[in-house]
Amino acid sequence: MKVTLMMRTAGIATITALGLAACGGGSGGGNSGGGMGSANSLNPQGSTFQETLQQQWATNFHSSNPSAQITYTGSGSSAGIEAFQTGQSSFAGSDVTMTADQQSAANATCGSSALTIPITSGGVAIMYNLPSLTKPLNLSADTLAGIFMGKITTWNDAAIAADNPGVSLPSTGISVFHRADGSGTTNVLSGFLDATASSVWTLGVNKEFSNWPVGQGATGSSGVAQGVKNTPGGITYAEVTYAKQDGLQTAAIKGAQGGFVQISSATVAKSIKSGFSITGTAPDLAGTLSFTSMTGYPISTVSYVLVCSTYKDAGLGTLVRKYLTYAAGPGQDVGTSLGFAPLPKSLDNKVLASIATINQS
């Protein structure tokens, strides 16, 4: 074909443009705040457990601080810790505390010590699909373990009947749905069953199991909730917002202490007060959960944020401090409608004190 002057010019222009774009994109981006963030924008990522709450906080914070843009991505606790310790995100949401290796990597990236601070708490609801029942079911820890281990296979089993005297149970088979992807929610449930029903629950504590004796896996909390919604006789474990949005009933669970407790903001908060203890030295507030000490809803957990105590970028550090001060302050009540529980007052005061030290020294 004949190459006209027009085509030649167009060709040269295209190649130049592409070349400039490639060079420009590589060296630039300093002011636009990609990755770690800037004085006006943050890109935290991590735990899916706190995802809905973080997104609500970001929206509320943005309406009172229009110049601030905060985007939380629920990529999973492990991905969040990874991104935080490599400096790719300003802070991370995580359901688990960092290991020693991760802590030292994070300290190195921050240039100061990395802090683990509880920011919210919530419970893992046990939801099921039995439209014939008018009142919520009671399930003790041993019965729950038996269901998830495949030892109890029908809803009218003797163990379930013993927990629910006088209730007529259908003979439907139990269809267990568990998480196929690794998740902090599975970690909490297995931690609870391991602590309170270890004679029945033999899989240990982990974020995911490949050897579930029974049931099928689904991806994400929405996947398991969807499965239960579509299968009569289904049962699963997930954050309580999914039960509400899919119209599923949640069971009242009996742990090591007390009786059968239904999940609610108040019962979760009671459990965190009795079952969560801080093991770190202030301002680091990492802690452990003791399921056997919980007096409220027994399958409760806290979720943390991982932050640097002093950020290299002062503007960024100030924004993180302001955002988390909102989250730990007025933001605590926001979570109630989403199924989260505010941190107990004594813990919340310590959290606010720790957050206040970010970029203040």
């Binding site: 492990s78 196929a180 992807d181 490949s210 049931g215 099928q216 896996g217 579509n230 009569p232």
Partner: protein, 328 residues
Amino acid sequence: MSAVDTTLDTASLRSGRHGHRGDAVFRAITLAAGIFVFVLLGAIAVFLVIKALPALRDNQANFWTTRTWSATNGDVHFGIAALLFGTVVTSVLALVISLPLAIGVALYIVEYAPARLSTWLGYLTDMLAAVPSVVYGLWALLYLLKHMAGLNEFLVRYFHWIPLFSNPNNQTLVYSKSIFAASIILAIMILPITAAISREVLRQVGSAQKEAALALGATRWEMVRTSLLPPSRPGIVSAAMLGLGRALGETIAVALVIGNTYTTSGRVLIPGGATIASNIANLFGEADETGRSALIASGLVLFVLTLAVNLIARYVILRAGSEEHTAI
């Protein structure tokens, strides 16, 4: 115009002895492009092997026979038995379901449909290929699974004597995320590719052969059977292999629709099953270094499997191409 040399000296053209600088540059560019493909493939293979080695070395269980998957920094025993089984079974079943349909669609478009309808049908099948796989997965999860209950019950009731379709523990199949469900959605996804290529291949058969068969008194179906399908066989095999390749690697659609249990039971209607790709999709987000290395090891197996499938296809086509096909 005797001064113009009109003989085509292809040998010297190829070797570039004609001497134009432009030719030499162009030859170098195409050579580079060809080499680049090899280099890329080799680089991917090397990357996979290097990244997979740490987990394979630390693995305390037999990689090929273990069914469970547990790979975190302290506790490494994982095996690919269930994943490989699931991958192969879903892909083969998908091919078995969709290939006859694809050939049927192609035959209809080429032979039986009126001209305008056949062009439109061609466009529509091609458009099916353009739908993103995650959209197929969502549609299957939210719509297809619910409506497969009837089909599942029917198969169990009348065909339970075939172990493939049995349900020994009488589990509920109302919303069964199973290998069968994944195979159906995979079949829908590979149908357009297989149909489009089969259509092209069938169209290449010369009308002389077809008309000769008809002139000798063959019916339409006999003409198709003797002079249309046989010469197209290598092409249809390559279409099937392309479809199989897509099915082997399909990730999100399968992860949403399969039951995600590590089983090698072969009962396709029961909730459960996992493929290499769906396992990677599910576990990658929360995996630590050992976990990622283990997942890459499974990716390496999938890579080798796809290469093997393609080599077998090439061999089949080579052998088929060397036979003589006559119209009678």
